[in-house]
């Protein structure tokens, strides 16, 4: 520890997780003012406009789909799953960062998570909502979706438990409900704060009823804390399990490129990778627009860049391992796919772009200067989002388009309606996100107050007992 201290003396330390000089009051008023008192913002209107326009496109695309059938998409016989499943996996992956931040980092007492966890959780929720529509819409007869659920029926049939799609139903619905609970429980003290600070009667009523009678008593806080920790513990395995199960959709099949044991860890790492990329994508403009530099500091961005570097490298390892196994197993079908079709075949461009986006770009974050360059970080996060979408594209499309019998090989071309549905869910996401920014606190007020307290407290302790600092450099 002394050595660490020594190092810190020689070079500037990492930026703090909360800008100095904040009090309970300043934190509360700054964050709640975004919702309660700030005037109408044209930038918000533009964002909301884009989101809701795309949402309308989504509505049109869905009505078309339900009226005419799945054939309006580009899916065909070797490639029976197309953009819908790619988008599903992509959105679900994005959601993972939120859960990771709120649950695992909470349990690991990573305080820097506090200022980003609220909107990361919201992002999770909205991403899961976007993800959830795809498996439903991509069914041939979506009105029969409930046949995938185990419910008592006159057919005396349960779902087919061996099918990964049934596991998916459970994994995703569990994930969605735990995420909602976690988010909502975390919101309760803040809703009470908004209730108390709201001026208009309707706002008081709405926030009041959502706050469920929170009075901030010590007993409330005690119950709240234990409930929150329990939910975090519940959510923790989900970070790993959901994307593991999603990867089973592919890994449990026989198709070369899908039938791979590395998929579960590789998918989870990819999910966290893409999720953090999305958090960066969202928080950089949010911070700039609402002047939240004090709460979302460069420290946060730096940490997230490091996570991108780690998870990106795990994903890169996954790619390398697929290559190696394809060669080492001497399986002719896998060999063809990984050594010929993907790097040099019909979809070589998608594959090479994917490698560039997911493996090469994160390597920039070895350099602290890159991690702290906000603009560069933001652009890289966008690139990673694209790269991770392409990863799913490469997995879903290249594997099925050239599987076992060359006679059946065919390419897949997404149609207008494929893209419209995808853009539509981006619209849904933006729409929900902008509603959230306008009506709920984007940063957890209560937790920030706690952070203010702890910072001051520890600052005081540090002065007296420098060697007693329990958290080391991570602070």
């Amino acid at each position: 520890m002394a050595e660490l201290k020594h190092k810190e003396d020689r070079r500037p330390g990492p930026p703090p997780v909360l800008a100095p000089g904040h009090t309970f009051g300043s934190v509360t008023s700054k964050i709640s003012s975004l919702v309660l008192t700030d005037p109408y913002d044209w930038r918000w209107a533009i964002g909301m406009g884009i989101g809701s326009s795309l949402l309308l496109l989504f509505a049109v695309a869905v009505v078309q789909l339900l009226l005419r059938g799945i054939g309006i998409w580009g899916v065909n016989v070797p490639v029976m799953w197309g953009l819908a499943i790619i988008n599903f996996v992509w959105w679900i992956g994005i959601g993972h960062a939120g859960t990771l931040i709120s649950a695992i980092l909470l349990l690991l007492k990573q305080e820097w998570r506090t200022s980003i966890n609220r909107f990361a959780e919201a992002m999770t929720l909205f991403a899961v909502a976007c993800a959830g529509v795809f498996p439903l819409l991509h069914m041939g007869r979506p009105w029969k979706f409930y046949w995938l659920l185990p419910y008592p029926n006159t057919m005396a049939l349960l779902p087919q438990w061996r099918s990964p799609l049934v596991w998916d139903v459970f994994a995703v619905s569990t994930y969605a409900s735990v995420s909602v609970m976690f988010w909502y429980v975390g919101l309760i003290p803040d809703l009470a704060t908004l209730r108390d600070r709201a001026i208009s009667r309707p706002a008081q009523l709405i926030y009041g009823s959502l706050a469920l009678g929170w009075r901030g008593s010590a007993r409330h806080w005690a119950r709240y804390k234990s409930a929150y920790m329990l939910l975090a513990a519940l959510a923790t395995p989900l970070v790993v399990s959901v994307h593991t199960v999603v990867s089973f959709d592919f890994a449990a099949s026989v198709i070369p490129g899908w039938h791979t044991t590395i998929f579960p860890p590789y998918f989870v790492a990819g999910a966290i990778f893409s999720g953090f990329a999305m958090v960066v994508t969202l928080c950089v403009p949010l911070r700039a627009a609402y002047g939240l530099h004090d709460f979302i500091t460069d420290r946060h961005l730096d940490n997230m860049a490091k996570i991108l570097l780690v998870t990106g490298s795990i994903v890169g390892y996954g790619y390398a391992m697929e290559f190696f196994i394809a060669w080492y197993s001497a399986n002719p079908y896998e060999g063809f796919l990984f050594l010929e079709a993907r790097p040099f075949g019909w979809y070589a461009n998608a594959y090479r772009t994917m490698i560039f986006c997911n493996v090469l770009i994160p390597q920039l974050f070895w350099f602290p200067a890159c991690r702290r360059n906000v603009m560069l970080l933001w652009i890289c996060s966008l690139i990673v989002n694209v790269g991770m979408w392409l990863e799913r594209y490469v997995i879903v499309i290249t594997s099925t388009s050239q599987d076992f019998l060359p006679s059946s090989w065919a390419m897949y071309y997404p149609t207008f309606w494929d893209w419209a549905t995808f853009l539509g869910t981006i619209g849904l996401f933006l729409f929900l996100m902008f509603l959230f920014i306008r009506f709920l606190p984007v940063i957890a007020i209560a937790e920030m107050r706690e952070l203010v307290h702890e910072t001051d407290h520890h600052a005081a302790r540090e002065r007296g007992l420098p060697a007693g600092e329990p958290h080391g450099e991570a602070r």
Binding site: G69, V77, P78, H138, G140, R141, D403, F404, P406, A410
Partner: protein, 1028 residues
């Protein structure tokens, strides 16, 4: 307009009084429709009398029913009875439904009945058994007792079922562009007869397609007797003129060569696609395949025939060849001459050595092989080659002692002119000369399919003449006709037809004419004075005159039942000896070859264009190119490289003064300088399905060069037409999918195809055996012999007909969404683009014992039966398509859009009532024809026995001309499929995946000549013969 005496002498036939009765009892109906009858128009007073007679006749048949209030009802009912009794078919009155008072004994709801009849393509009859459910035909099967069928059919015959119900068929008589009636047409015909009898038929011409119907031929000949100056022309775009003319050159008589592949050890095909083209092709395919079936018992003693094919464009026959040589069509005659010279045929002349440069070794080996098989070899020439080559082939066959052994000669089965093209040219000239004032076209469509230099459409338009057209469709010719009469489809009409060997089959209707169609016989009968004589009477009358009277009824009924009628004239058609062929009349023109040649071929699925409105055939992949919905100019890879052509690129084909734009399809195995175009596309009045699909190659075809000619120029354009092919990748990517070897290899290592199976890891699995209980009685399985499969695609259509598989259209095929449950994969072997080996592999559902599709379905919509069927429950399917993704064989088909919901009403009766019609959003696939299994099971249960090992015949199996597919019970060691599985050639597709497929394959064998020079011998030539 007085009808002739004959009219009065002919008693009114029953449909006449029926109409009279109907009209008399519904005056408002009659008034509205102007009461049309021949007699009324003739207006001689006899009409009303006839009506009242008819009505009282009907009434008299129903005694004691004078009650006026019941009269109308009973009259109509009487009419129905009368109809039911006579033809068993007519349009029922629309307003009344009269239930059975007494149920007919034979008609059991849900129980199919089969009736024998015969299909005819280009005059070539194929005996059929047609499945009928409650009076509507649904499926065509081959007739085992008919020699041209032997129980099998081909894709064209299968698809006739769709043509029958085609809503675009011509439905009404058209006179000068307006709807009219049959009765008024009859009046016209009676008048025509009167006029033509008066001038002995001067200016009267009849144009038919190839007529092999003895009854119709007899009628036409009788007509020509009464009108000696009238003329009968017959024209078939895919004509056999050259074969007949070749025999005439060699023997002095127009004869039809009939090959006997069962006796031939060495077969040489000079541009002859005998497996898909020409009379008796189903029979020949069977005989050919039988000689390629290696003996399962002892591989060492296995023998096979050997096939050499010289052809300009790849065909399924070429794909079966042991040695194939792509050669321009113009050089095939040189090949024949070289062969004749090498075999020292008397009168043979030297071939132009330059034209065959590089192939000398090929020909000398071939000649040596032929010499070694005297009397057991066969040289067969294609219809597309000129008569001289046919004549020379006769000489070669004679020199080899094959005539009378492997090839016999018989008088043509077709009546009418033997030089059809000449006959059409004559007709066209006469029309231009104004010598024709009435032309009766029976079934043909010359405006579309005649050679372009005859300008027939223009001449018919210009000349003042009466054009009468009888046709299934209101087609290009009907558009110019003064009278158009809808033709009855053969499934709704009486008739008779000869097969390639002279066997006659009676065609009997399966259903009343859907659109009041008429037969050629009925029109000719009218011209003979037998007004309104129904087609049944025409056929019966003819045969009652030819068969012994005392046993006629018995013979006739027997013939209807069996589908074959004993023909006392068969002796005439029996093979005879016609002396030695002479070559003194054969002359060769040795014009130097120009750059490119154009080759015309009938379309493998649309034939000459007559099936253009048949969606099944439009969507059936043409085996070699896998092209659907359109045709293309087939160019060789070398030519494409030279001219910089790409697939789908539009090129301009200029030939003489005609220019046609066509998309390119680069076809490996095409002769380098030949461009092949398929006839039958580019129709303008085919119907909603066929209009405007592809380009019309007839626009380039000329009467002096109907099959190929030099002088083609190709100019690339920037246009592009997306060609809907079903297979985009053509080599096996080094995977052992179609396993093949040579006969020698097989003799040494019979199980050469089972290398994968011998691996120590084969069939090892971590998965337990299927958890479902296994039946102790049945385990269904299928084995497909790739050595017998000729890639004719008949199985695909048969399956489509049996299983109510929808047609999806070009856009959907372009996106790989065709719905066929069984497809024929075609792979190229060997690296030689100019002449690759071509192999076929029919792929239905494998019914894997450990099916990857089953465990991924979230709702248990696809399950395993205890008898080993991989079953699909459409009602349960929610359409996640995971099963389709996880199927290694990609045999699952998905209803992406509501393909069946907009089926026109007239196509609904076509559906097989035993098979569910699938809705949007559900998966479907081959079921092993589970409905047939269940039917057999019910039969067996009622008889208190087990289903026999070979009792169930799937649709694909039943149709297969070569019997490449066997299906049955694997638990019965005596079943054909169990025996096939014992073959050393037996293997499973993608066996290493551990799916344990129930559909398995038997490896293909080739029988290359061991003395053949290795491929390097002609390495300097880009076009190499294929060895092995």
């Amino acid at each position: 307009m007085k009808p002739s005496r004959d009219d009065h002498e002919t008693p009114p036939t029953l449909p006449e009084p029926t109409r009279a009765a109907r009209a008399a009892s519904t005056p408002e109906f009659a008034a509205a429709r102007q009461w049309r009858s021949l007699s009324e128009l003739a207006d001689d007073g006899s009409f009303l009398e006839e009506v009242s007679q008819a009505v009282s006749g009907v009434r008299g048949a129903i005694h004691g029913l004078d009650d006026a209030s019941r009269r109308k009802f009973m009259t109509v009912m009487g009419a129905s009875f009368a109809l039911a009794g006579v033809a068993g078919c007519s349009v029922q009155p629309a307003e009344l439904i009269i239930p059975y008072v007494e149920q007919p004994e034979d008609i059991v709801p849900g129980k199919a009945m089969f009736f024998a009849t015969a299909a005819v393509v280009g005059g070539d009859g194929v005996g059929l058994l047609v499945e009928s459910h409650m009076g509507r035909p649904t499926k065509i099967e081959g007739n085992p007792t008919h020699p041209a069928s032997l129980g099998a059919t081909d894709a064209l015959a299968q698809a006739e079922m769709l043509t029958l119900y085609d809503p675009d068929r011509s439905q009404i008589v058209i006179h000068e562009g307006r709807a009219d009636t049959w009765e008024r047409f009859l009046a016209f015909a009676v008048d025509l007869r009167a006029r033509k009898l008066a001038n002995k038929g001067k200016g009267f011409r009849i144009l038919t397609q190839t007529v092999t119907s003895p009854a119709l031929a007899d009628q036409l000949n009788r007509l020509l007797e009464t009108m000696p100056e009238a003329k009968w022309h017959s024209y078939e775009p895919v004509t056999r003129d050259a074969a007949r003319r070749g025999a005439e050159l060699a023997f002095g008589e127009p004869l039809e060569p009939v090959p006997h592949f069962d006796k031939a050890d060495v077969v040489v095909s000079l541009d002859a696609d005998f497996l898909s083209w020409g009379p008796g092709r189903i029979h020949h395919a069977r005989a050919f395949a039988d000689r390629r079936s290696p003996d399962v018992e002892s591989a060492a003693e296995t023998t096979m025939n050997r096939l050499y094919v010289i052809e300009p464009t790849p065909t399924i026959t070429g794909a079966m060849a042991d040695h194939r040589l792509p050669l321009a069509a113009r050089d095939v005659s040189q090949a024949a001459r070289a062969l004749a010279k090498a075999l020292e045929v008397e009168g043979a002349t030297d071939a132009d050595a330059n034209r065959l440069a590089g192939h000398e070794a090929w020909f000398s080996t071939l000649a040596a092989d032929l010499k070694a098989h005297r009397g057991k070899s066969l040289v067969i020439v294609g219809e597309g080659q000129p008569a001289e080559v046919h004549a020379l082939a006769h000489a070669i066959n004679a020199a080899l002692g094959n005539i009378g052994e492997t090839i016999t000669l018989a008088p043509p089965i077709a009546a009418g002119p033997t030089d059809q093209l000449g006959s059409l040219v004559e007709l066209a000239r006469d029309i231009e000369a104004g010598e024709v004032d009435a032309l009766l076209v029976l079934g043909a469509n010359p405006v579309y399919d005649s050679p372009v230099d005859l300008n027939l459409a223009e001449a018919l338009n210009r000349e003042r003449m009466t054009l009468v057209h009888l046709g299934l469709y209101d087609d290009e010719t009907a558009a110019l006709a003064n009278w158009h009469v809808p033709e009855a489809h053969f499934l709704e009409a009486w008739g008779d037809v000869r097969a390639f060997d002279g066997t006659v089959a009676i065609q009997q209707p399966l259903i009343a004419p859907l659109y009041d169609g008429r037969t050629a016989g009925e029109i000719v009968a009218t011209l003979l004075g037998q007004v309104g004589l129904p087609s049944r009477e025409i056929v019966r009358e003819y045969w009652s005159g030819r068969l012994p009277a005392e046993t006629f009824e018995k013979t006739w009924n027997q013939a209807l039942r069996d589908g074959v009628i004993p023909d006392p004239a068969a002796d005439e058609a029996a093979p005879k000896s016609f002396g030695e062929p002479k070559l003194d009349q054969v002359t060769w023109s040795d014009a130097p070859a120009e750059e490119l040649e154009i080759v015309f071929r009938p379309d493998p699925t649309l034939w000459d264009g007559r099936y253009a409105n048949n969606g099944w055939l439009q969507e059936l992949p043409k085996t070699i190119t896998t092209l659907t919905w359109g045709n293309a100019a087939l160019v060789s890879p070398a030519l494409a490289a030279r001219l910089g052509l790409k697939n789908d690129q539009v090129i301009e084909l200029s030939y003489r003064d005609a220019v046609v734009e066509a998309p390119v399809w680069i076809t490996p195995g095409q002769a380098e300088n030949s461009v092949t175009v398929h006839l039958g596309h580019g129709r303008t009045r085919a119907g909603r399905v066929g209009d405007g699909v592809g380009f019309n190659a007839y626009a380039l075809r000329r009467s002096d060069a109907p099959w190929f000619d030099d002088g083609l120029t190709v100019s690339p354009t920037n246009g592009r037409v997306r060609l809907a092919v079903t297979q985009h990748h053509h080599d096996m990517a080094e995977r052992a999918l179609v396993r093949s070897g040579t006969l020698e290899q097989y003799r040494e290592t019979p199980d050469f195809a089972q290398e994968e199976e011998r691996s120590p890891h084969y069939n090892m699995s971590l998965h337990p055996d299927p958890p479902v209980p296994q039946s102790e009685d049945y385990a269904w399985g299928m084995a497909i012999d790739l050595n017998r499969c000729i890639g004719c695609n008949a199985c695909t259509i048969a399956c489509q007909a049996e299983n109510n598989i929808p047609v999806v259209g070009k856009d959907e095929v372009l996106n790989s969404r065709e719905m066929h449950w069984i497809r024929v994969d075609r792979y190229y072997e060997g690296g030689d683009q100019a002449n690759p080996g071509t192999v076929f592999q029919p792929v239905p559902c494998m019914h894997c014992e450990k099916a990857p599709c089953e465990l991924v379905c979230p709702v248990e919509a696809t399950l395993h039966s205890d008898e080993g069927l991989n079953e699909m429950i459409y009602n349960r399917c929610v359409g996640t398509r995971y099963c389709g993704n996880n199927c290694p064989y990609k045999v699952r088909r998905f209803n992406w859009l509501p393909y069946t919901s907009d089926t026109p009403p007239s196509l609904k009766p076509l559906n097989n009532p035993d098979v569910t019609v699938r809705s949007r959003g559900v998966m479907e696939k081959c079921t092993y024809c589970v409905q047939r299994i269940n039917e057999a099971r019910i039969e067996a249960k009622m008889a208190g026995r087990k289903v026999g090992g070979d009792e169930v015949v799937t649709a694909c199996q039943g149709v297969c001309p070569t019997r490449a597919i066997v299906f049955g019970n694997l638990l019965d060691p005596e079943s054909a499929v169990s025996k096939a599985r014992q073959s050393p050639r037996h293997y499973a597709l993608l066996a290493s995946l551990g799916t344990r497929p129930r559909t398995t394959y038997m490896a293909r064998l080739n029988n290359p000549n061991p003395d053949a020079p290795p491929a390097e011998a002609s390495a300097e030539n880009t076009v190499e013969p294929r060895h092995g």
